[in-house]
Point group: C2
Chain length 491, copies 2
C-alpha cells in the first residue's frame, strides 16, 4: 500500500529524472527544466531524452534505467499514450515519486480515464506516489525545487498551497510577487487520480516550514474526509480556502455536481465555518488572508484602534470595521489627555485618531505608541505611516522646464539620503508588534510600490486600501475567537 502522506521525498528530492526533457523552447519538457535550472535546484537533475546529447547544459540519458544514481522523483511530460510502460521503468529503478504533468487522461473522456486507472493501479502495486496527472507541477522552497510549467519564480516564505486548478495556483504565486507573498510549498493537484488534496493537507499540517495552508478547492464532496481532516488541522495552523464552483454554472464548469446557487454557497459557508476554515470569497481575499496569517500575530479580541493622516480614510476604515463586526471603541479620557499634549488643540479626540498634521515634527510615533499600548484595543490599523511617498513621483523624472531641474535634484538628493536608512516610523511599527503581540496593519494608500515595500523591507503587514486591511483583520480576529472557543488559545 502506498503511503500517501509522507511526502517529504516528493517535495524535497535529491535527484530528479526529467522524462520528456526537450531542447525545444515552447515545450513543457523544456520550460520545467529551465525553471529548475533558473531556481538553482539543490540536488541533481537527469534529463531523459534518447534523441539529445544534452539540454541546457545537462547531460541527457536515453532511458531512466541509464541514470547512474538512484532517483527520488521522476517528472513526466511525455504524451499520455506512452506513460504506462514508463511507470514500470520507474518502478524497476525504485523511483517512489512521480509528478505526471501529462494531460489527456480522465479529464478528456472515457479512454483517458481507463488509462488513468491503469496507471494508478500500477502505482499502488509498486508503492509509487503520483501527483496528477494533468498537474502544472510542484514547488518547494527548501530544496529550491521549481518544477512548474510557467516561467515563474515564486517568492519563498511560510505559506504552503495546493490547488485543484493549476492555472489558479500558479497565478496566485505570480500575483504573490506583487504582494510579497512567500511560499514554502505548492502543488497543482491535477486530476488527483491517486494522491489527493487531503494527502497534501495532512503533509502540510505536519510540515514545520509551513505556517499557513492555502487551498483552491473545486471538486470535494461533503462526505469525503477533507472537512474532518481539516477540522483537526485548523486547531494547529490556519487554513485558508477559496471554493470554486459554488454557483450552478460554476459547478457545471467545474465538471462537478450541480445545485442551486444559494443552497450550495450557504452550505459551503456553514461547513467551512464549522471546520474552522478561513473562507476567502474572492481570489484576492485568498491572497490577502494567507498573507495576513503569515505576517501577523492574532489579536486577542475584536477591538480596533485607527490612526490616520487623512480624515476621510479614517471614516472609511471605521465604516468597514463596523460593517464586518469589528469594534472601534471611543478613547478614554486619560488617553485623550495624553494625546492633547501632542496634537493641535482642535484634534478630533476620537478613534479614529486624525493626525491633522504636516510631516514636520511628526506626531505619528508618539500617538501610535500610546494607541497600541492602550489595553482597550486588540489591534491597530495605521493609515499613511510611511514618509517615503514624499515626492516619489518626481525624483525619477527629469523632464520639465529648466527651473524645475534644481528642485528635482533636491528631491532626488532628499530621497537618496533617506534611501539607505530605515524609516523610523516603520521600524517602530515592527517593534510595537513584537513588544505588544498585537497586530498592527498598515494601509499604504496611493502607492502600490510602498505597499509592497512595507512588507518587504519592514515585515509589516500592509495593504493599499483600508477595506482590504479590515477584511483581513476581521479574519484574524475570527480565527483567534475560534481557537479560544476550542480551548487552544486562552482568551
Amino acid at each position: 500500500m502506498t503511503n500517501h502522506t509522507d511526502l517529504e521525498s516528493l517535495f524535497n528530492p535529491k535527484t530528479i529524472a526529467m522524462i520528456g526533457a526537450s531542447p525545444t523552447p515552447g515545450k513543457w519538457g523544456y520550460f520545467i527544466l529551465l525553471n529548475m535550472l533558473k531556481a538553482g535546484f539543490n540536488g541533481q537533475i537527469f534529463p531523459v531524452n534518447p534523441k539529445a546529447e544534452s539540454i541546457l547544459g545537462f547531460k541527457c540519458y536515453p532511458a531512466v534505467s541509464e541514470i547512474p544514481e538512484s532517483v527520488d522523483l521522476a517528472i513526466i511530460t511525455i504524451p499520455s499514450a506512452l506513460v504506462s510502460p514508463v511507470i514500470d521503468e520507474c518502478a524497476a529503478c525504485s523511483i517512489r515519486n512521480i509528478v505526471l504533468v501529462t494531460s489527456n487522461f480522465s479529464e478528456s473522456g472515457e479512454e483517458g480515464a481507463a488509462l488513468e486507472d491503469e496507471i494508478v493501479a500500477k502505482a499502488e502495486k509498486y508503492g509509487i506516489r503520483i501527483v496528477g496527472p494533468n498537474t502544472m507541477g510542484i514547488f518547494s522552497s527548501d530544496s529550491r525545487l521549481h518544477a512548474l510549467m510557467p516561467t515563474l519564480m515564486p517568492l519563498h516564505g511560510s505559506i504552503s498551497m495546493f490547488s485543484q486548478s493549476g492555472n489558479v495556483g500558479v497565478q496566485m504565486m505570480d500575483y504573490g510577487l506583487h504582494e510579497n507573498l512567500g511560499f514554502s510549498k505548492f502543488v497543482s493537484s491535477g486530476n488527483e487520480a491517486q494522491i489527493t488534496c487531503v494527502d497534501y493537507l495532512k503533509y502540510f499540517a505536519e510540515d514545520e516550514a509551513t505556517k499557513v495552508i492555502m487551498g483552491y478547492v473545486e471538486g470535494f464532496d461533503l462526505d469525503t474526509d477533507l472537512l474532518e481532516v481539516t477540522k483537526e488541522i485548523t486547531l494547529k495552523k490556519p487554513v485558508v480556502f477559496l471554493k470554486g464552483g459554488k454557483s450552478e454554472i460554476g459547478t457545471k464548469a467545474a465538471a462537478s455536481h450541480s445545485g442551486s446557487l444559494a443552497g450550495s454557497a450557504a452550505i459551503n459557508h456553514a461547513v467551512f465555518r464549522q471546520a474552522g476554515i478561513v473562507e476567502a470569497m474572492t481570489s484576492l481575499e485568498l491572497i490577502d488572508f494567507a498573507k495576513s496569517f503569515a505576517n501577523s500575530p492574532l489579536p486577542a479580541g475584536n477591538r480596533v484602534g485607527i490612526i490616520t493622516r487623512g480624515g476621510g480614510w479614517g471614516v472609511l476604515t471605521a465604516d468597514a470595521c463596523e460593517q464586518s463586526g469589528l469594534v472601534v471603541p471611543p478613547l478614554p479620557e486619560t488617553l485623550i489627555r495624553e494625546i492633547d499634549k501632542i496634537l493641535p488643540e482642535y484634534w478630533n479626540r476620537g478613534n479614529p485618531i486624525d493626525l491633522v498634521a504636516t510631516i514636520m515634527n511628526d506626531p505619528l510615533p508618539a500617538c501610535l505608541k500610546m494607541l497600541v499600548e492602550w489595553d482597550g484595543v486588540d489591534a491597530v490599523i495605521v493609515l499613511g505611516a510611511g514618509l517615503q511617498n514624499f515626492s516619489y513621483h518626481y525624483a525619477d523624472d527629469l523632464e520639465g522646464p529648466p527651473q524645475l531641474i534644481e528642485t528635482i535634484k533636491f528631491i532626488k538628493e532628499y530621497r537618496e539620503a533617506g534611501s539607505g536608512k530605515l524609516d523610523p516610523n516603520l521600524v517602530l511599527i515592527a517593534d510595537l508588534v513584537k513588544q505588544t503581540g498585537k497586530p498592527i496593519i498598515s494601509v499604504s494608500m496611493g502607492s502600490q510600490y510602498s505597499h509592497k515595500e512595507f512588507m518587504k523591507t519592514y515585515s509589516i503587514l500592509s495593504f493599499p486600501t483600508p477595506e482590504r486591511a479590515v477584511g483581513s483583520l476581521q479574519k484574524l480576529a475570527e480565527y483567534s475567537q475560534y481557537l479560544t472557543k476550542n480551548g487552544v488559545l486562552t482568551g
Copy 2:
C-alpha cells in the same frame, strides 16, 4: 449673487495669482507652484510674496494689486488670520475665483467658523466663488492646471471627481496611476463654505469633457438637493459615488449626524439606487466602476459569455457572475458545432469556454469572435488574452548558471521582437468592442503590469482578478437597465 455653477473660469483660468507662494520646499505655497510648473500650466502664474524676488523662476509680486495682468484665479495658502483682508484685495482686482487652501476655519471650532462666515459673506457680496477653505486644491487637464498640494501628476482622461475628503481624492488619483485612470477635472471641496459638491456636480454634468462623474461624499443630508440634482444628471452621465460615514463610528469620525449602522447604510443604498447613482462599497470599487464607465460601452442586457485559458478561472468567473445577478447562458448547438472545428475533441462545450490549449496555433481569436458575435450574450469576459506574459519574469534578469544565459537572451530577443508590435489578440478585442458595441472585459491575471498595459496600449477595460471584472460589469448592466427603464435607452 454669486453664480455658483458656471465654473469654467475656475477650472480653466488663463492667469493665476499664487498668494502665499513660498521659496521653501516643504511649504504648500511651494509645492503647489512646483506642481503647476511641472505640469506645464497653459496660462500665466504670478506668485505673490513681498519677501521674495522670484520663486522657481517665476517673478514675484509684493501684492495682488501689483500684478500687471487681470487675474482669473487666486490660490491662497497664507495663514487663516490673514485671509479676510486678502479677499478685499482680490475683489479690488476683480478676481472672481479663489481656491482657499488655508485650513483652521470651521473645521477647527467656533472661532474658525466665525472667520469662515465673514469670508463667505464678503465673497457673496463681491461675486467671488471660493473653493474650500481647507481644500487640497483643484485640477483640470484641459488647461494643465495641477493646483494640488501633494506632488502628484494625475493621468488625463474623461473622469471628473469631487471629494469631500482631500486625502481620499488625491490618493484616488495617485492609485489611478496604477490603474490607468484618467481625470478631466478634480476638486477637493474642503469645508464647502460657499461652493458645494452640488455646484461641482452641476458643472461636471454640463462639461463636455466629462464623461463620468466620480464622487467621495461624507456629509450630505437627505434633505439637500444633492440627490434631486444627481437624479437628473444620471439620466445623462454615469455618476459613481462612494459614501463615507455609513457606520456609527464612521459618521462620528465624519463629524456629521449619528445613526445606527444598518439604518444609515440601508437608507444610503436605497436613495442612491433611486437616484440612479452607481454605488461603490469600497475605495477600490470607486476606482473600478469609474474606470469601467469611462472605458466601456454599456451592455444591452445581463447575459455574459466567458472565455478562458485556465479552467479554474472560468469557474470563479461564472460563480461571481451568478452571485451578482449576471446570467451565464449555455451555448447553443450551432455555436458548439462551430467551435468543435477549432478546439480539441475533448473541450467542455459550455460557457465558460475553456480553451484547453497551448499558445501555439492559438484558438482564442476565432473562438472569441464567435462568442462575442453570438446574439445570446450582451458582454464577454476574456481571461488570459495577452501573450506577453510569456517569460516576462526572466528576460530582465540575467542571473543564473552560465547555460541559462543563452536561453535568457533568446527570451529577451523574442520579447523585444514583439515589443514594437501590437498583440493581434488585443487589437481584435478592441476591434470587436467597436464593431459589436458590446463590452469585452479582460482579466489579465497574475501580472499587474500587463493589466495596466491592456488599458494603456490597447484601451481595453482590464482587471487583475475576475471578481473585479464581474463587479464592474454588473454595474454597467445595472446602469444600462436603469436608463432603459427611464426611457433613455431603448432595450
